[in-house]
Symmetry: C2
């Protein structure tokens, strides 16, 4: 189906995508029928490919995106970030409804209304609208050519085949994403062993107990959600929760606050546990693991959630083009996103960790600029990070422990202060934690700012609560710019009171001192 | 009562403050019994005085705070910002409960649970904890001397009297705040004519309808809360809502989104109305006004809320010290916070608009630094701003209209895009708007970034939704620094996806273009 010369409205895209979810008719938006030579063919129209192509087009180049799904945007709006955000917002609301059951304007909590399935269905029914927007925006606003609902195949670095035709191109940019690695135990392939992708595709019953395997973001995020949505959750983690190699800079006080909070809400967390087998006749029903002391653990369950690591989708590219890959199947690239094969670039999750949106998009932009003759490198070793429990947890820069290892005179400003019991103090409070602060102070969050007392520079910021995540994007920029950000500059800023993270005001309370001390 | 040599815990402060709310026994925390000479006596221990004194102490100076209440912190935690935040958070939650009544995990909305009085009581019962923290922190962490529960009186610029003793000082710093101006109509002094201060002190019944007078922040914020809490609300405003002289940079699209949203939620808004009289036998029962076409309007009501402007508490200072004041009774100061009288400074709301927390605190810090011999000026003509409806609305820099008046080539990036119906598009979405995005897209907020196409600098950012307010503190710093912030720098930042304001990612989609265009 050729839409190059039509204006397709949002509503029309909705039905067009719905209609093609289960067929293989390509939808093409091509200039000159795809003739001529492209500057790049982006294999995969997820975040990396879409943003890379958009940037290249904006620079005056000619990109083409090819995606196997009938929509652009990739797994994020289809299975990953967007449902996760919907579920985490629901978890936060359910959590508040539980704590305030039959208090104030909250009715008695009705357990029968808590449902994972309802929210999965809400997501499934609504996700096409986000897909429609991606297709609409990419065509109408960004003016990028694409072929969707058709897998692409690189014949060589200058020829790509899709939808029954071949496209000539100066370069190929691979952005085919990653997938959940299966669990390496017997029973890994039973029905009712879900991951973030299959959960939203396959769940068709209401689970009331589950076992999650993993100890990092996905395990914590989905665990908090399942528990809040009425599903008794057990997390089996080899490492202490959130102390996995792929997460850096997690402050121990912050970690403890969120992990303790999950336990307080009923999540069973077993650290030092090793999954050994999943059993069941029609699907996962029983989980066997080895406990921290070598004991055998058994759990009845309604499903198993695989929250362990992901692996890049690099097999086809390796076969087609011979690109070199690393230990976790990631395509190896330099800081300009060049692979081992000339004129072949790789971007996004397929080049390995961190598998985060900012990296995917900026990889795409970096590849586009290099292909268009604007040499540029992208260093993603430092970045702000976040995860959800029933709170938002955001962090950037060094943890207190990391700072103390690297600096002689570390100063910490935190809320609540170290010397005060949180249950005695309604702080921190601001948007999202006001009711907690007044009725259940210990639930009102936690925050910490880590400072080098010598240079007075802010080394790290850490927050648990609501409403601060967005700010960490700018804190990342400020503390990582060459001149950094001092406590004095922070204290000179104009806060919006009550502000979810109290960093500006607290900096001002200490900033007058030549010899900085904790607060 | 002398506490200088005791450590008073948070719990002890709670009962100490409760016990002294209705007596006039001073509580003193003085070194050397208050002997010697202070660098400054801060009259008023609200935000301005407390932060000024803390900064002076941190610099090595000797400040003394005197406050008539038995606690520090002033009106903010007692009657103003803190209850407002508690009410606005509740309004947002109530609003969501109403929209999702009997959907998903939300039970049928129970109107009988919606209660202004319950929330006022929650605040009244809990506010002492915030007070306790202020007293505790100021003594134990900030080591500032104070006299509370005793009014101070300046005999001259170097002598202040309080609690039956006199204190010698190099300077006096006046930070006595502001008060709501009474309505200038007959019936202004009836019972049940409330303002933000008297509402939390005096409300003792459940109102079911109300009339608000005013068209700026306070009127909009309390109006949104009252309506969400089950009180049918009418707002009488002379100007169009949020088009009052004390609010600058409010973008018209944003204004329309929130005002239309309030109307959609049932708030009756009458612009161009002029209050003429409040009538009633036992208290306010009936409101008479002139409508926009000169017609007479009458309303039955359970209370009247005065949401018009405030006036500085400058009368005593003028009498005592002869400081010069302006048209609205504000104490006139220069950019160093010096009044017309040598060695007398004034800070915070008492120097006039904007009566915002950042200004109060930074005024205090500015006075402290100047008094301590570090000359510094404070320009508060530009700053980020926010208000609540059932959303958070945040803005900084120029509105689109202001930008178009000042620049030839203005580019606008907004969500949803101008050409798409909001009901067709689940954007913007992120923390706080996920459920809306999936179930009721039109309610998912609105955002806009205004850019100068020539310099590529960001001129203004505007957001309605949740979770972006904190970020605007840093956006303010970035766009107002001398070099500003370009769309290219914005597009190079590391976003935390899904981010409540989509400015970084949207900048990146356009940043590749030499000739910037709208998105």
């Amino acid at each position: 189906m050729d839409i190059a010369n039509s204006t397709v409205s949002m509503a029309e895209w909705n039905s067009l995508i719905e209609g093609h979810m289960n067929d293989d008719e390509p939808i093409t938006n091509l200039q000159d029928g795809g003739g001529g030579t492209y500057d790049a063919v982006f294999l995969g129209g997820g975040a990396a490919g879409r943003f890379g192509a958009a940037y290249m087009k904006a620079m005056g180049g000619r990109p083409l995106i090819i995606d196997r799904w009938p929509f652009l945007g990739g797994t994020c709006p289809h299975q990953a970030c967007v449902p996760h955000h919907l579920f985490s917002e629901s978890a936060a609301l359910l959590d508040r409804q539980r704590w305030f059951s039959d208090e104030l304007f909250f009715p008695p909590f009705d357990e029968s209304r808590a449902s994972i399935l309802d929210l999965v269905n809400l997501f499934r029914d609504g996700r096409v609208t986000a897909h429609a927007f991606m297709n609409w925006q990419t065509k109408e606003q960004l003016e990028v050519e694409y072929v969707v609902n058709a897998p692409g195949r690189a014949l060589d670095p200058h020829t790509v085949e899709a939808a029954g035709q071949t496209f000539d191109t100066r370069t190929v940019v691979i952005g085919l994403g990653a997938h959940q690695k299966p669990l390496a135990v017997p029973g890994y392939d039973l029905p009712r062993v879900f991951d973030w992708a299959t959960l939203v595709e396959d769940l068709d019953y209401e689970p009331r107990r589950c076992v999650i395997v993993g100890g990092s973001k996905v395990a914590v995020e989905y665990g908090a959600f399942f528990q809040a949505a009425g599903c008794q959750t057990t997390i089996l983690s080899r490492s202490p929760l959130l102390r996995t190699p792929n997460l850096h800079h997690v402050d121990e006080d912050i970690r403890r606050y969120v992990v303790d909070g999950m336990r307080e809400r009923g999540v069973e967390i077993i650290e030092g546990a090793q999954l050994t087998e999943i059993k069941g006749s029609d699907g996962a029903e029983r989980v066997i693991a080895t406990g921290p002391d070598g004991e055998t653990l058994e759990f009845e369950t309604d499903f198993v959630f695989n929250g362990t690591g992901e692996a890049p989708n690099s097999a086809e590219s390796k076969k087609w083009l011979g690109v070199a890959t690393g230990d976790n199947d990631e395509i190896l690239v330099d800081a300009s996103m060049r692979t081992s094969v000339e004129d072949v670039y790789a971007i996004g999750d397929i080049i390995g960790a961190p598998m985060e949106m900012f990296k995917a998009r900026k990889c795409g932009m970096t590849a586009a600029r290099n292909i268009m003759g604007e040499p540029i490198e992208f260093d993603f070793s430092e970045y702000p990070d976040f995860l959800h429990t029933t709170y938002e947890m955001s962090w950037v820069g060094l943890s207190e422990e990391e700072a103390r290892a690297a600096y002689d005179h570390v100063v910490v400003i935190q809320m609540p202060p170290k010397s005060v019991d949180h249950d005695d103090i309604p702080l921190p409070c601001a948007e999202g934690t006001m009711l907690y602060a007044f009725a259940k102070p210990g639930l009102s969050g936690f925050q910490k700012c880590v400072i080098d007392g010598e240079s007075r520079r802010i080394l790290g910021c850490h927050h648990v609560g609501y409403g601060a995540k967005d700010a960490f994007q700018y804190l990342d920029y400020l503390i990582h710019r060459p001149e950094g950000l001092t406590i004095d500059e922070m204290g000179q800023m104009n806060e919006l009171f009550l502000n979810p993270e109290h960093f500006i005001q607290l900096s001002r309370l200490r900033g007058g001192r030549k010899d900085l001390v904790d607060l």
